[in-house]
């Protein structure tokens, strides 16, 4: 099994939003699986991490939730991205790219001769 990673603060919300953007409305289980798969099983989420994060996004108005029938005829709560959520995703993604570029630039720098 691959090395396990901790979910860095703030990144989980981004992962959830991105997942919903890519896959459309989805239930908690689906989101969980998608995150695990995308991370190549380096991240596993327990319910106590996932569901409070979903609720927080809902409270902030970035996602909506409604009960629906799932593909194999189960009742499940589906989360969907809102317009505000889309904007938030774009903003956060941009910030992450910038941060990542910056860190990469720093870490990639070679020792300079004076």
């Amino acid at each position: 099994m691959a090395e396990k990673l901790d979910v860095k603060p703030g990144t989980l919300a981004l992962m959830i939003l991105k997942t919903l953007e890519v896959l459309g409305p989805l239930h908690g289980y689906g989101i969980n699986r998608r995150i695990e798969e995308t991370s190549k099983n380096r991240i596993t989420l327990n319910y106590g991490t996932l569901y409070p994060a979903l609720l927080k996004l809902e409270q902030e108005g970035f996602v909506t939730a409604e009960w629906r029938q799932s593909e194999n005829n189960r009742r499940a709560k589906y989360y969907a991205l809102t317009a505000a959520g889309r904007k938030q995703l774009a903003r956060e993604a941009r910030e992450w790219h910038q941060t990542a570029d910056l860190i990469a630039a720093f870490l990639g720098a070679r020792r300079e001769t004076p």
Partner: protein
Amino acid sequence: MKHLRAALARITGFFTGHRQDDELREELQSHLDMETAEYIRRGMHPDDAHRRALLTSGGLTQAAEAVRDQRGLPWIEGIAADIRYALRALRHSPAFTTVAALTLALGIGANTAIFSVVRAVLLKPLPHKDGDRLVYLRHSADGPGGANVLFSVPEIRDFREGAKSLGGIAEYSPFFSILQDDDGAARLDVGLVTGNFFDVMGLSPLLGRLTRPSDDGPGVPPVMVLSHEFWMKRFGGDPAVVGKQVKLDAGTVTVIGVLEPAPFFPNRVDALLNMVISKHHLSALMVQGRTHRMTEMVARLAPGATVEQASTDVATVDARVQHEFKDAYDPGSHYRVAVIPFKEALGDRARLTLLLLMGAAAFVLIISAANVVNLTLMRGVRRQQELVVRAALGAGVARLRRLLLVENLVLTITGGLLGVILAIGGVSLLTSLAERYSPRANEIRLDVVVLGFTLSLSVALALLLSFAGSLPKEGSFASAIAAGARRISGSLSKHRLQRALVIAQIAVSVVLLAGAGLLTRTISRLSEVDTGLKTEEVLTIPVQLLSFGGGDFAKILAGDVAAKQGYDRIRGEIQALPGVTVVGVGSTLPLRGAEMGLDVKAEGRALAVGEATPRASLRTADPDYFRAAGIPLLKGRAFARTDQPGGGRVVILNQVLADRLFPGEDPIGRRVAWTGDVLRFSPFSGDWRTVVGVVGNTRDAGLDAPPPPAMFMPFAQELAMGGGVVIRADGDPEALAAGATRIVRRIAPTVPIGKVMTVAQYKAESVAPRRLNAELVSLFGILAVLIAAVGIAGVLAFSVSARSNEIGIRMSLGADSARVQRMILKEGGLLLAIGLVAGVGGAYFATRVMHGLLFGIAPHDPLTFIGVAVVMAAIGILACWIPALRAARIDPAIAMRAS
């Protein structure tokens, strides 16, 4: 925006939580089902699949909890749960809860009540505008009656011109007048004030207007401002009183306004008038007489000036004036002026008593708190197992601490609420005490500030209690649980804390008891004081027939004749009442201070250099006065019917004065005279008078003061001043009160009659505030001792139950029950002994501050200290006995089996 929205969602969530719980459970369950299905699809056995799914979930309950925290307001939900839990826990140990809450109620109640008085009387800002800029000037001199000699108008003028740090100086002359209206006659205590008085004092009218500089001087109409209290009492708060004409003995005056409620100093006043009402106050005698001191002085500090600067300025002016007018300041009397912040002056008489009561109440609180801490410690030990288990199950130490804090808050706030109920009763009692000491007693209130004080006291106690008990340490749960309940009987250090608390309780109780003992003995010493009177079963009727009204001399003299005839008729009619033996009339009733004192000299005797001029109270008496009042005649004769106006001027001295003027000589037949500059302003002559008798000393300046020197003149030869009637009877003089009062009322229907009572009653009333004070401190002392006794018994009982195993072993090894009992008694006795020693030591220092409240007894009176120690020891031993007996009854077999 995002935060606001989230906050709103949370608040909604807080209220809709229960409905959402079901939904959440369903959601989590569906997740679990889907995951299980997935594992089965991959080929797992359904049971394994379910287990695996549960494992990865991290626990449904934990998840639900985490979501709930995110959903609502976990902080409030937590507190609400904590309060529910605290109430349940407290209900589970009703004995602990009751004892702790009641103990706290006593401590908090006593402090709340006394703080409300201290705040009103000493601390609260004055109602006057910028009241902290007001100062009172006190002019004093050595010798009897010298504590406050007031100022003369020229003296005030000196300060007004010379003391630049005083921005404004107001004059206030205490005066009294008789009010006549449809409700009858009433004595009115008034102040004659300068027009700038209210401006300087920073007071505003409630109705109408106050006096102003245009009300000063002669030729203006007399006007009157009512005090708020008098307006309510006499006029029922009727606003129509403004503009009304009121008839005083000095003339008719117009009420121009009602003053806002404000305290007065040094005496309470009913109304304030401009000076014009008293001819005397505008006369040359008053305005120019440097020694004619009848005026109080209140000043406002100039902007930027301090009390220290004002004191320096005033001292400089005073020194210059004393140098310039040597005749007016007898060097032996050491005249001096003190500048005192007005608020301090108002609280002066009450301060020591109140601080003593505050201290006593604080001690009671310390003892109560110590007791509750001890109870909490013991309960904590019993609960330790429960707390450890809770912590191990995931409650977390921080959460447990919060839980305990909430529990203690519930406890102390309950105690505080009960305390406030106690305080409501206490405050009315304390107000009656404070009235005797302070003009601000009517400001005493259980207001927001006082309740805030109570609340902070309760919260502080809760914090204290929460840190007294220790919680299991993180990471030590397992070992604590393994050790088992029986093993946890509290650490040694906690035992030490308990013991230290018991010792402190005993020590503090001893200090309180010592204070109570000293005050109680002061009261008994005071009632043992020889008043100098042969009997106190004498009825007195204070009634002043002569009106000094407007200070118009011709009028006074005319009135004097009528007044003397009135007294003759009263004397005659009362004499005729059945049972009456003697009736006397005099200017001053027995055991009361004379209104006036003057310098005296003896013929042929010069003062030594630096010797203060002798002063004596000026009193008049009719021939029967001494016999009626029970004042013993020591030498010579009493006054006779022949000592009439026009006859030879004669006087009777009391023993102190005779010894002072004629040390070692027979005063009979010698001559004395009133003297001094002030004589010019009095209606008394400075002629030589022959001493015809000497009477015994009486405690006219209070039971705790030495008898003041007094010189009596025949009632018939002088102005019929003040005073009243003194009645001696065969039987109970009180039975005559109604009949005698009726006679006085009929003969002098327009004259107010003072409180009719016996000398014994007057004496009891004069010590009443001290008695109440002593009773309060004693009450605190008794409370303290009881609480301390409960404390020591409780700690020992706990020790016995913790050691029951050990005691069982000892007994099975041959110790008999007497020995076990001794062992426990020894344990308690040691605590008691240390506490007693510490207490007596503490009392030795603490009682020193009470010096000013004691009479006839030293602050470390050995007899009181021994008595207190014995009482405390006896009660302490009794308290130890109960747990010791219990220890002796332990059945070794049961005790050991239980472990």
